[in-house]
């Protein structure tokens, strides 16, 4: 069924591209129809960046089609279908990206209900729209690819508006409340598995189900009276519960498991619950002067993690945890200390001609801002390499607007560190002593996109 949906979707987008004269959006009885399709190629010198990039991959594409219409002077309806693929993320599954009833009562107050694009920072709403930005990959310090599908849209209700501020510009605001979808087999779940803190004890998890309890987001943009300067602040928060199949690797305890351990047998033990509560704050600045665009953003996220497994309540695991300074409750709940991640970047892009643009950014991300060196992370057994604690990315991009509808981009990244990379994409090396993640590596990307 999913495959059929994919075929129908791709055929629809391609038919639209062919049939609509390839230049402008199509309008049918007052309904605007627009779409885009892109295909990319990724290659990395080391480390797999969300796909098998070390070998080079074309599993990097997006396609979308949307329909919208003004029902009355104040009410507009619209929806967009989207399919994307980045290695194991997306897998070209056709999703309802957004579907909104938008009632703009006054300029200062409008109401949206349905599935809305999630407001966060300057560019989160447009991260699927390659043709609207200079870079192929937005800075990962603020726009983590693993979270992209989870932070794409929020299902619920939102208020928005523009407030004039007399001589100092105007204020644009958005407030959203509802829920987000976090899939149990996509990037966010894989990130969660990487955060499991008891790998050193031989226990690993596989996320089966994620229930999101609540999500809220708020964004304010001050459009200053200084030409081209926009200053913004945004926040979002979510909490969810996940249920995880839990395995015990017998090879971690050969004294007890003897022969089983020598075969590396995995034993399934009682399920774990892994609950997450997160709050993010982002400060943003964008300055546009003619063809030059500067942008800078800072983001910090506070995480509270809580784990439950009946194994932790008593017995050998309880003893091991207590010895490690962690005291589980009687029902096996372990509250992990709160920690904050931190990310920031600065970017500059310049359009030399209507068809050529050059851009660069420097982006820094720390998984835990109180452990920037990664020492604690390694000591706790979360990882074996300290450079999993950060990712520093210097990016250089060239963008060519071949026509108004066709865009070609070529991009290079000089990376230091391996934070945000997924363990599922970077398996433990078979050769003893070989590093699982390289500290210094390069990522190259090329992408062609079309929109109408």
């Amino acid at each position: 069924m999913k495959n059929l949906m994919r075929v129908i979707f791709i055929v629809t987008v391609l038919t639209a591209v062919q049939g609509f004269g390839c230049i402008y959006a199509y309008e049918y009885k007052g309904i605007d129809i627009r779409g885009f399709i892109s295909q990319g190629y990724l290659q990395s010198s080391d480390n797999n960046f969300f796909a098998e990039t070390e070998d080079g991959t074309t599993q990097f594409n997006e396609a979308g089609i949307n329909f919208s219409a003004d029902v009355s002077d104040k009410l507009r309806l619209g929806m967009q279908f989207l399919a994307r693929d980045l290695g194991s993320i997306g897998d070209n599954e056709v999703l309802l990206d957004w579907a909104v009833a938008d009632y703009r009562w006054q300029d200062y107050l409008g109401l949206r209900v349905g599935n809305m694009k999630f407001v966060h920072g300057l560019y989160n709403e447009t991260r699927d729209l390659d043709m609207l930005r200079t870079f192929i990959f937005l800075p990962q310090s603020v726009y983590n690819e693993a979270w992209r599908e989870s932070s794409a849209s929020v299902q619920g209700v939102g208020f928005y508006g523009d407030l004039p501020l007399a001589d100092i510009g105007s204020l644009n605001y958005d407030v959203q409340y509802g829920t987000i979808n976090i899939s149990d087999d996509k990037g966010a779940a894989r990130l969660l598995e990487d955060q499991w803190p008891f790998k050193a004890t031989g226990l690993t998890i596989d996320v089966d189900k994620i229930d999101v309890e609540r999500t809220y987001a708020g964004s304010v943009k001050w459009i200053t009276n200084m030409e081209g300067l926009v200053i913004g602040a945004s926040t979002y928060g979510y909490s969810f519960e996940s249920e995880c199949t839990t395995m015990f690797d017998t090879s971690s305890d050969p004294a007890t498991f003897g022969g089983l351990a020598s075969f590396g047998t995995q034993l399934t033990v009682p399920k774990s619950n892994f609950d997450v509560d997160a709050t993010t704050y982002t400060a943003s600045m964008e300055f546009t002067w003619r063809n030059l665009v500067f942008a800078a953003e800072y983001m910090t996220t506070s995480y509270e993690l809580e784990l439950r497994n009946e194994l932790f309540g008593a017995g050998a695991f309880n003893t091991a945890l207590v010895a490690a300074g962690v005291t589980p409750s009687a029902n096996g709940t372990v509250k992990i200390d709160e920690f904050d991640s931190e990310g920031y970047y600065g970017s500059v892009a310049y359009r030399f001609t209507p068809w050529f643009e050059l851009g660069t950014y420097y982006s820094v991300y720390y998984a835990n801002k109180d452990d920037k060196s990664g020492s604690e992370r390694v000591a706790k057994g979360l990882d074996t390499e300290k450079h999993r604690a950060w990712l520093k990315d210097w990016c250089l991009t060239t963008r060519f607007d071949v026509t108004e509808n066709w865009v070609v981009k070529v991009e290079g990244h000089k990376m230091n560190g391996a934070a945000i990379l997924l363990g599922a994409d970077n398996p433990v090396p078979e050769t003893a002593g070989e590093e699982r993640y390289e500290e210094d590596w390069y990522l190259y990307a090329a992408k062609v996109s079309y929109n109408f």
């Binding site: 006054q106 004039p164 390069y442």
Partner: protein, 150 residues
């Protein structure tokens, strides 16, 4: 080794910035005199500030003072279009196009109707209540209401 090209590209970037600008080597638009902002007879305003024009053409102001919906009209790529966007909306044609594509592809708005010639803009504005557009001054012959920019 592969990254030795980066300093060269960065140098190109800054040289480009230094020599470009409205009259520079990489200038992207020409100027062709003034534009006239026109509107439908039903529009209550006879003059607007530059800020009002910018807010309207970026979709932040959607109603006239009498509550009537503002219907925007754009002129396709032309010198008059470039001048209008740069002078009154403070965006390059590319930035303006991307701004409206963002609205359309994120469910926030509908891209205004765009016409190839000033005559088509005049016809649409004349016949659409609440409509506003712009044309080259040379194409204006008082057949449609004009708005004074304060």
């Amino acid at each position: 080794m592969k990254w030795r090209i980066i300093p060269v590209l960065i140098a190109v970037l800054f040289i480009g910035i230094a020599v470009s600008g409205p009259t520079g080597l990489f200038a992207t638009s020409g100027r062709a005199g003034d534009v006239v902002v026109i509107c439908n007879d039903s529009v209550p305003a006879s003059s607007l500030s530059r800020d009002n024009i910018q807010e309207m053409f970026l979709g932040r102001k959607t109603r006239w003072s009498d509550g009537q919906k503002i219907t925007l009209t754009l002129l396709k790529d032309s010198d008059a279009n470039d001048v209008f966007l740069e002078e009154y909306v403070e965006k390059t044609p590319q930035q303006f196009r991307d701004y409206w594509k963002k609205q359309a592809f994120t469910g926030r708005g509908r891209i205004p109707d765009t016409f190839a010639s000033p005559q088509e803009v005049i016809e649409f504005v004349k016949n659409t209540p609440g409509a506003v557009g712009y044309i080259p001054a040379s194409a204006y012959e008082s057949q449609v209401k004009s708005i004074t920019i304060e």
